[in-house]
Amino acid sequence: MLNDEIDSSLQPLVDRLRELPESDPRAVKRVLARIRHYDGLPNARRRALRRYFSRQSGWWAAAAVVVLGAGVTLFARAALQSSAYESATLIPAVDDGSPTPVVRAADAGEDSLSAERLVERRFTIRSLEARQVSLVGDFNQWNPRQHRLHRDGKTATWYITVELPAGLHKYAFIVNDSVWTTDPSAVRTVDRDFGVTSSLVLVQ
C-alpha cells in the first residue's frame, strides 16, 4: 500500500516548504530585460506568423521531405550515371576494323596542318549508358563539338576515325557533354598546367 499523503508528522515540513521566497521586484524586471535582449518582444504579426508555421509544420515537413527526396534522387541518379559510366568505359573496345567515316583533324580550320602528312587513327570506347560521346584533343583545340563519335548499337561501342598529323597527341573523351574521361586502352598523362588527366596517342 502506497502512503503518499501528508500526515501530521510531515505537515510542518510541507508548510515550511510551501512558503514562497522573498520576492525581489527587480527579479521580474531582470527576466523581462533578458527576454528583450535575447528575443525581443515580438509584435503580434510576427507571433502570428510563427504560430501559423508551427501549426502548418506537418505540411512544411512533408514538403521538405518531398523536395529533399527529389534532390537526393537526382543526385544519386547523376552519381550513379557517372560511376556507371566510369566503370563501363574501363572496358576497352574491340576494334573490328569496320569502315568508318574519316574526319580530318585539319577540318578544325588550321591550314598549316593540311601540308603535313596525315595518318588515320581510330578511337573507340565502350559505354552502355552514354548518350553522346565527343573526342577532344590538342588536334581539335579540345573542342567537344568537332569530333562526335558514332555508336554501334550491337556492341555499344562508340567510334570515330580521325586523320591526325604525325606526332604525340593528347586526347580524351567527353561523355554526355559533361563527363571527362580518358581512354582505358591508352597511356594516360596529367597536364601540369590544368591538372586534368588525358590519354596519349603516338601517330607515326
Partner: protein, 205 residues
C-alpha cells in the same frame, strides 16, 4: 444536510492534494494574450509564476543564485515556446516541465563544477528567512530534502508543494504515473524517518 463545499475546493481537481493553497493563477484571457504576443500580459505571467518557480528551483538546487539563473532561463524559453502551448495541457504543468529540465541541467553542471571546487559541496543556502520552530529549522529542512534522491525530491515537491496531479508530474518527469506515485511514497517515507530521527535526537539532548 451536507454543507456546500467552498467554491475554491470545488475548483480543485480531485487528484490535487486538498491541503495545497492555490497561489494566484493567471486568468485564461491573460494567458492567451501573452501567447498572442502581448508584452504586458507576458509580464503579468512572469510576475504571477516567478515566486513559485523560484521556490521550486531553490528546493532543488539549494542555491539562490543558481535557482534565479534557472528561473530566468526558463522564462526566456517559455517566451520562445509559448506560441506552441496548447490549452489541453495545464499551463503550470507545462511551465514546470521546462523548469524541471533547466534544473536538471543546472544540477549536472553544478555537480561537474563541484568536483573542482570541493568547498561548494558543503554549501547550505537559506530556503527562506529562518524561523526556528522545532523541526522546521532551515538547515534541518535542507538536510531532510538532501536525504532524498533527486528524482524523489522533484516528485515530492511537484506533488505536495506545487500541487500538480500525478499525470502532470508523469509528463514532467517522463515516466509512468505508477512510478511517480512510488517516488512520492518513498520520499514521504524517507522524510518521516528523518523527522522521527531528528525528534528523537532532540529529546535525548
Amino acid at each position: 444536510m451536507t454543507a456546500a463545499r467552498p467554491r475554491l475546493l470545488r475548483a480543485i481537481p480531485n487528484d490535487r492534494p486538498a491541503s495545497v493553497d492555490l497561489p494566484a493563477v493567471l486568468s485564461r484571457e491573460t494567458l492567451l494574450s501573452a501567447r498572442d504576443g502581448d508584452p504586458v500580459a507576458f509580464a503579468q505571467l512572469v510576475r504571477t509564476y516567478y515566486p513559485r518557480c523560484l521556490r521550486f528551483a531553490q528546493h532543488l538546487l539549494s542555491s539562490r543564485e543558481d535557482a534565479e539563473e534557472c528561473v530566468q532561463d526558463t522564462f526566456v524559453r517559455v517566451h520562445r515556446a509559448l506560441h506552441r502551448y496548447e490549452e489541453r495541457e495545464r499551463f503550470d504543468a507545462w511551465l514546470f516541465r521546462i523548469l524541471a529540465n533547466r534544473c536538471r541541467t543546472a544540477r549536472r553542471r553544478v555537480a561537474r563544477w563541484s568536483l573542482f571546487h570541493s568547498a561548494d559541496l558543503d554549501r547550505v543556502t537559506p530556503i527562506s528567512a529562518a524561523r526556528v520552530d522545532g523541526f522546521v529549522a532551515r538547515d534541518e529542512i535542507w538536510h531532510a530534502l538532501a536525504g532524498l534522491t533527486e528524482e524523489q525530491r522533484e516528485a515530492f515537491l511537484l506533488r505536495h508543494v506545487e500541487g500538480l496531479t500525478y499525470e502532470d508530474i508523469a509528463a514532467v518527469a517522463g515516466i509512468a504515473v505508477t512510478a511517480v506515485r512510488m517516488r512520492v511514497s518513498r520520499a514521504c517515507a524517507r522524510l518521516r524517518d528523518t523527522i522521527t530521527q531528528a525528534d528523537a535526537e532532540r529529546r535525548n539532548r
